[in-house]
Every structure is written in C-alpha cells, then in structure tokens.
C-alpha cells in the first residue's frame, strides 16, 4: 500500500496515542483522584500518578463508613444497577425474540398491524414521554420497584427489528427441513433459531446492558427511596450538596465503581459488541 511508506505510519501512531490520551484521560484522572485524600484533591493541581489512599478510600466506600450514600451502601447500589441492567438486557431480548419470531415465521390476521404497533415505538425514547409515563407508574404502584425501573425501558422496537432482520436471512429450506424432521415452532425456536442467533444475542446483550447501566433520568424519577437508587443516581446525589461538603475522594471512588462493570463488559465482549453495534444499527 502507498501509505505504508514514509512518515505516514509514525504520524498515525502519534495521532492515535494523542487520541487515546484525550479519550482515556478523564477516566485515568478519576482513578488518580480516587486514590488521593480529600485534602490533596481540594488543592489543585492534582498529581498525575496514583496517591497512597487507594486501600483506604476503596475500603471505606465498599465496606461502609462515610462511603454510605444517603444511608445506602455501595454494594446495594451496585446490585440495584445490576438488576436494572440485566433486567433490561434480558427482558428486551426475551420479548423481542418472541415477537420477531411470531412476525417472521407465522402468517396470521393483523400480523402487519402488530408489526407497525411495535415499529412505531422505534425511536421515541422514554425521555420524551417522561411525565405521562411517570403517572402511569404511580397509577400502577410501580414507583420504587425493579419492575418500574425496567419495564418502561424495554418498550422499544430496536431489538425486535434487529431480530426480525436476522430471522429473515434464515433460508426457508431450513425451516422446511426442521418441519420434516418433526420440529414444531417452539422446538425450532429452541433448537435452531436461538442457537443461530447467538452472536446477535451476545452483541445485543452488551449494548442493552450498557444502556441499562447508564440510565439516569428514568431511575431518577421512578425511585424515591434511596434503597432503590442506582449507582449513577446515588453518585449524582453525592455532589448535589454544596461544593465544599462534597467528599470528592469518595465521589471519585464511586465513579470508578460505577464505570468499571460496564467498561469490563464492553472490553471483554469487544468482539461481539463491535460486530453487533456496527451491523445492527445500520
């Protein structure tokens, strides 16, 4: 290739190193701050290498003491967030596979009506209908429940459309072969369709897990009880105090704890995530 000669490649590396520096720096900086004492943080500039308070800060955050946010310990918050993220990811995958399966592999009256009913929800995020949705949650008594955190966010068509698109690429002979082999619809779904969708399911899982974990506005509205807060909400509440009182070292520890699980999921499942993202959203 032409660009392989000359200074092109070193320059490219330089650009990327700078890019990585800019992109990763805020996270690195947060990590640095999480290992400093509050006094060091309040006296800028902050050193660029980790301080000596790592064990003390993280120990305090995880095992109680000042780390309790609004009387709730960090592990409860992480658990709430995990339930919400998993609930959204698995719930959406579950209902989407079933409905896409029905729409692609059956012919029945009102099929297209149902398709459009679901399709319309494609791009209306919960943010545009927060107030009425909130009222519905109140009416149904779902405030401060996991169901309240999860259900409204899985009412969307994106995953359904993705599965529909994938199912339509399944050769019809495969369905026919399965029918001749004595597989009914549910057995076909279990034995053939779901195993063939593994990559899509994995990719979608990563995307939805991140989506669920990083939610902010909805959990803010639907939880009053601090016990039901997600880690992102709790973190936000920590800095809502007057600036001087904010325990910034604890905020930074909590921020790292809030960032770590989704970053791990993305990095470890990178292969599927990248493929799923680029293929599904096009």
């Amino acid at each position: 290739m032409i660009e392989r000669r000359g200074i092109g490649r070193p320059v490219a590396h330089l650009v990327l190193v700078l890019g990585v520096f800019v992109v990763a720096f805020p996270i690195y900086y947060t990590f640095i701050a999480s290992t400093q004492s509050l006094t060091t943080i309040l006296r800028p500039p902050l050193p660029l290498t980790p301080g000596g308070e790592f064990a003390a800060n993280y120990g305090e955050a995880i095992f109680g003491g000042i780390g309790r946010i609004g009387g709730v310990d960090v592990l409860t918050l992480l658990f709430n967030t995990l339930v919400m993220a998993l609930g959204i990811a698995l719930g959406k995958i579950f209902i989407s596979i079933l409905s896409a399966f029905a729409i692609v592999f059956f012919r029945f009256p009102l099929r297209m009506a149902f398709f459009w009913l679901i399709f319309v929800t494609l791009m209306l995020p919960v943010e545009v209908r927060i107030l009425p949705t909130y009222k519905v949650m109140v009416d149904l008594g779902l405030i401060d429940t996991y169901a309240g955190l999860i259900l409204p966010l899985i009412a969307s068509a994106t995953a359904t459309l993705l599965f529909r698109q994938f199912f339509m690429t399944i050769p019809s002979e495969l369905v026919e072969a399965a029918r001749i082999d004595g597989a009914g619809p549910l057995r076909f779904l279990r034995d053939i369709l779901i195993p063939l969708s593994r990559t899509n399911i994995a990719a979608l899982f990563v995307i939805l897990f991140i989506y669920g974990w990083t939610q902010y506005l909805w959990p803010l509205l639907v939880t009053n009880d601090n016990q039901m807060n997600t880690i992102v909400i709790a973190l936000r509440k920590m800095v809502s105090f007057a600036d001087a009182d904010t325990p910034w070292h604890m905020v930074m520890v909590t921020a790292i704890l809030a960032i770590l699980p989704p970053v791990l999921v993305v990095v470890l499942m990178q292969r599927w995530f990248v493929r799923g993202l680029v293929e599904s959203e096009k």
């Binding site: 990585v20 990763a24 995020p125």
Partner: protein, 293 residues
C-alpha cells in the same frame, strides 16, 4: 421474508403478547396521555382541569424561554455532533493506516461508550470545576477567566465537550468499519492517477463514507437531544441562566419542578414530532443505502 411458515392459529398471538402488552401499557398509554394532557389546563391548585385545545401549544411556541431553549438545543446538538464526528473520523483514518496495535487502540478508545452520561458529566465537571478542578486551575494560571458556573458560553463549551467525548467511541467504530469496506484497489488506482494522500481522502474516501457519515449525523443528533440529559444535569443543571437548558431538560424541568403539566405535555408532543421526523429522515436514508449495495 421466508415463504416457509408454521401453520398455527393461536401461537403467534401468544408470542407477541409480552411485547404488545408492555408496549401498550408503557408506550401507548403514556403517549396518548401526553396528547390528551397537552390539550388541558390545570388550575393553580391542580384540582380541576379544562380543555383548552391548542392553547398550550400556542403558549409553548410563543414562550421566549422555549424559543431560547430551541436555540440552545440546536447549538448544543450541532456542536456536539460535529465535534464528535470530526475527532472520530480523524482517529479512524489514523487507525486505518497503522498495522500493529489496531486492537490495542480500539480497546482504549471504546471506554467512554460504557460511561454513563451523568458520570461523564461529573468527570468533566471535576476536571474543570472552578473550585478545585486541575484544568480550571491551569486555565486561571494562564490568565484565562474560567468559570462555567457563571459564564453561559463556557458552560455550553463544557457540556459540548463532555457530550462529544462520550460519543467519539461510537463514531470511531462506525468510521473504522466504513473505511475498511472501501476497496483497496480504488485507493491504489487514485494513487496511480497521481492523487496525493490528502486529495485521495477528500475525492475518494470521504465521498464513499458519506452514507455512514450521514447516518452518524442523525444518530448523534438524536443522542445530543435525548441521551445527554444526565450530562447537562450533572454539569450545569441547565444553567447558568438557562444557557444550557435543552428541550428535554425543559420538559423535565417544567413538568417535575415547575409542575406545568399541560405545558410539559405539549412540549413532549412537539418532541415526539421532532423524533418522528428524524426517524423518517433516517429511514429514507436507510432505503437509499440499499441501492448502494
């Protein structure tokens, strides 16, 4: 669509039931409530409400605060999208040129995708907080009067940077995929035709990735509209003096803080219309993609 189907009368309805139920309860019911609410006006005590037709819409669209919010949203969305797209494309073209370490760079560049917007806002606020942010300190040391808590423009710059930072990962992945799908032979042919590296980029590469760029532009705009609530809430809370109050933030503020239900509902309906328009644009584009192969 496969012609092979299962003959079954009840099963498909059963399979559709969970999604349809959830969609009806958590989408159609609230959406219709929003439509209904948007035509009502409550008395100051919230005891009675009466039908006022399109008066809420007229009030919203005639409200200078709302129009200000529209301007803020446009500035914020366009700046965020352009910044995030430009940086991502720049990095993606560099990533295309390197042979070794591609996966390493990618791994480090996708981190921000996993960071919650509210947390992202917090990180940037922490770095640029006038009280003890290291960068605020450095800026002040350099003689620059930096205070995003008081200066609206500076507040806007901060939320734009934070929002764009989070979106770079996503755009980067798409640009890398688009660049990889350009046939090598095309670029080689251009090189043989004597086009310089820069010229090759603007005359061959850029037009070929234009569909992806357009797709990302729509996605980034939608992102800036809706997913950035957390960033704005964490960094500025819409301030100072509403300088960073986007439309979504205003819906929240008017509905939950100022308790103007009719006005908030009318704003919701307007937002829905905007989203539907954006979706339509995207779908027209998706249809065009088919012709590109």
């Amino acid at each position: 669509m496969p012609k092979a189907v299962f003959p079954n009368r009840f099963l498909p309805y059963l399979l559709l039931a969970p999604q349809v139920a959830i969609t009806l309860v958590f989408f159609y019911w609230p959406a219709s409530q929003a439509l209904y609410q948007s035509t009502l006006k409550e008395d100051p005590f919230g005891l009675k409400s009466k039908f006022v037709g399109l008066a809420n819409f007229a009030a919203v669209l005639g409200d200078p605060d709302y129009l200000h919010s529209v301007r803020v949203t446009v500035v914020f969305s366009v700046s965020t999208a352009v910044l995030a797209l430009a940086l991502a494309l720049f990095l993606a073209t560099a990533a295309e040129k390197v042979v070794r370490g591609k996966a390493f760079y990618r791994t480090l560049l996708i981190w921000p995708y996993a960071v919650a917007p509210a947390v992202a806002g917090l990180l940037w606020l922490f770095m640029f907080n006038p009280a003890m942010g290291t960068f605020a300190y450095l800026l002040r040391d350099a003689g620059y009067r930096w205070n995003p808590l008081l200066d609206g423009d500076q507040a806007m710059v901060l939320v734009v940077v934070a929002a764009a930072w989070k979106q770079i990962s996503y755009n980067f992945l798409f640009f890398v995929a688009a660049l990889q799908s350009i046939p090598r032979s095309l670029i080689e042919a251009a090189a043989i035709d004597g086009a310089s590296s820069t010229k090759r980029f603007w005359t061959i590469v850029f037009p070929l990735i234009a569909p992806t760029t357009f797709f990302l532009l729509v996605v980034n705009t939608v992102y800036a509209f809706f997913d950035t609530f957390g960033i704005i809430d964490a960094v500025t809370g819409g301030g100072p003096a509403q300088a960073t109050q986007t439309l979504v933030y205003k819906v929240y503020n008017d509905g939950f803080v100022n308790l103007d239900l009719g006005g908030s509902a009318a704003q919701s309906v307007i937002l829905m219309a905007i989203v539907i328009a954006l979706t339509a644009v995207q779908f027209r584009y998706v249809e065009r993609r088919v012709h590109y192969g």
